[in-house]
């Protein structure tokens, strides 16, 4: 299976899960942002370009299921994927905790940015406090489910191959 097909499969599965099962399981009225998670993880594992393109289509699908104007999330998700990819290259050491915090921050930022763009285009009118609460809660919930999704996205983006091959000198 080619990487494109694998990413397509992951996107279709993610949109089905986000529109069905995950929509039923809400905490404080907020649900997991699975498509945003897939976007940032594709940026992390697949690089900025693949991440951005995947994020664009993830955004279009997200717009369709949540009823937002088409293009709104597609505008927000690609920069988030590129930012995560860029950040990943600059990180000296990553641990599960820092990765989890990075996912939380990325999802909260993406969710907040989408709300801000929605307000800018006059399609959202709720209070800023509510948006901040939603963004933080969505970030936490999404970070909680990110471990299994990470494995799937890594498989889709890299075909299961290791991202880097570390060359070490033998002998010592």
């Amino acid at each position: 299976m080619t990487p494109r097909l694998r990413v397509l499969l992951v996107l279709v599965t993610a949109v089905a899960l986000e529109g069905t099962l995950l929509d039923e399981l809400r905490i404080g009225g907020v649900s997991v942002e699975l498509l945003l998670l897939v976007s940032v993880l594709t940026g992390y594992h697949g690089g900025p370009e693949r991440g951005a393109i995947t994020a664009f289509f993830a955004g279009l699908l997200h717009d369709s299921i949540v009823g937002a104007p088409l293009g709104l999330h597609a505008l927000v998700y690609p920069p988030m994927a590129v930012a995560v990819s860029s950040l990943e290259l600059r990180m000296l050491r990553s641990t599960p905790v820092t990765d989890g915090l990075a996912v939380l921050a990325a999802v909260a930022a993406g969710q907040g940015l989408a709300s801000a763009v929605g307000m800018l285009f006059g399609v959202l009118g709720s209070s800023t406090d509510e948006f901040v609460r939603q963004a933080i809660l969505a970030g936490i919930l999404t970070a909680v489910v990110s471990a299994p999704v990470n494995r799937v996205v890594r498989w889709a983006a890299t075909g299961g191959l290791p991202g880097t091959i570390e060359l070490r000198r033998g002998g010592s």
Binding site: V15, G19, T20, E24, G47, P48, A68, G71, L75, S126
Partner: protein, 289 residues
């Protein structure tokens, strides 16, 4: 760690994608029909899956709500108990108020209960975390619904249909800050444009004369006219007539319908949708009232 990718050039790709997204966004906001159709198609494909999931996850959802919604349930229970006690104490006043409202509505010849409606069940909030003050109902274009139709409860206006798919629709509640409705004050006969405040009330932002004589508790109904919402649907009562305004009055209306405890709603069919000869159109006839 992912591999460094020196050959990748994300900036031109990102710019291209941003331009595409902005183009789509602009076209959609300007009302490009194919984009609506695309989104509706995606939702319609997911619809059977959602229905199956809704049914299959009912026990999980009940358990989930039991765990994560217990505090909220307790708070709601307490609030309802308080409300019940308050209502019992005020029953005489309420009876008098109801009589007054009915009298007022009769005086101006309102025929709210005679509107042709479709009964819908509330399913919950729409998927995702985009936006608030919206609910999803279990009827759509297959039931003869179209975007913009008024949604009411027994107490009055609840909102209007914002998105209509084949089997589901999204209702934007009257309290949403983007919800606009033309209203008429029943006693003073002043008309204005009311907007949701996001806090359970509406505010009349334009159209009211600065010297209009508006009473506290005055009944407010929809004005109809050029609006897609029919005239004379009860909206609520004036709780702040803004008597001290110098230039523009911002009259605050308390919504008559209680949006917290809704299960079923009525969608008011547009006059052209209603069958004047009372002939069954075959559009979900059992839902029609």
């Amino acid at each position: 760690m992912a591999a460094p990718r020196p050959a990748e050039r994300p900036r031109p790709t990102l710019l291209l994608l941003a331009a595409a997204a902005l183009t789509l966004l602009t076209l959609h906001i300007r009302g490009a029909a194919p984009l609506d159709a695309f989104q509706q198609g995606v939702r319609d494909i997911l619809e059977p899956l959602r229905t199956v999931t809704d049914t299959a996850t009912d026990p999980i959802q009940t358990a989930w709500n039991g765990i994560f919604g217990y505090e909220e349930l307790l708070a709601q229970n307490e609030r309802l108990a308080e409300e019940l006690a308050r209502l019992r104490g005020r029953s005489v006043t309420d009876d008098a108020d109801r009589e007054l409202l009915e009298r007022l509505l009769n005086e101006v010849g309102l025929d709210y209960s005679q509107l042709d409606t479709v009964v819908v069940r509330i399913l919950g909030t729409p998927p995702g975390n985009f936006g608030t003050h919206r609910i999803e109902v279990d009827a759509g274009s297959d039931d003869g619904l179209t975007e913009g139709l008024a949604v009411v409860s027994g107490a009055g206006l609840v909102g209007r249909l914002e998105q209509v798919d084949r089997a589901r629709s999204t209702v934007i509640l009257a309290t949403h800050p983007e919800f606009l409705v033309g209203v008429r004050l029943v006693e003073s006969q002043d008309e204005g444009l009311a907007r949701g405040t996001g806090r359970g009330t509406l505010r009349i932002e334009a159209g009211i004369r600065p010297d209009a004589d508006i009473a506290w508790n005055e009944a407010v109904v929809t004005s109809g006219g050029r609006s897609i919402l029919p005239a004379d649907i009860p909206v609520g009562r004036v709780i702040d007539p803004d008597e001290n305004a110098e230039y523009e009055r911002n009259v605050v209306i308390d919504l008559a319908a209680d949006l917290e405890s809704l299960s079923f709603l009525n969608v008011v069919l547009a006059p052209s949708e209603a069958d004047p000869l009372d002939v069954d159109t075959g559009l979900s006839g059992s839902r029609r009232q």
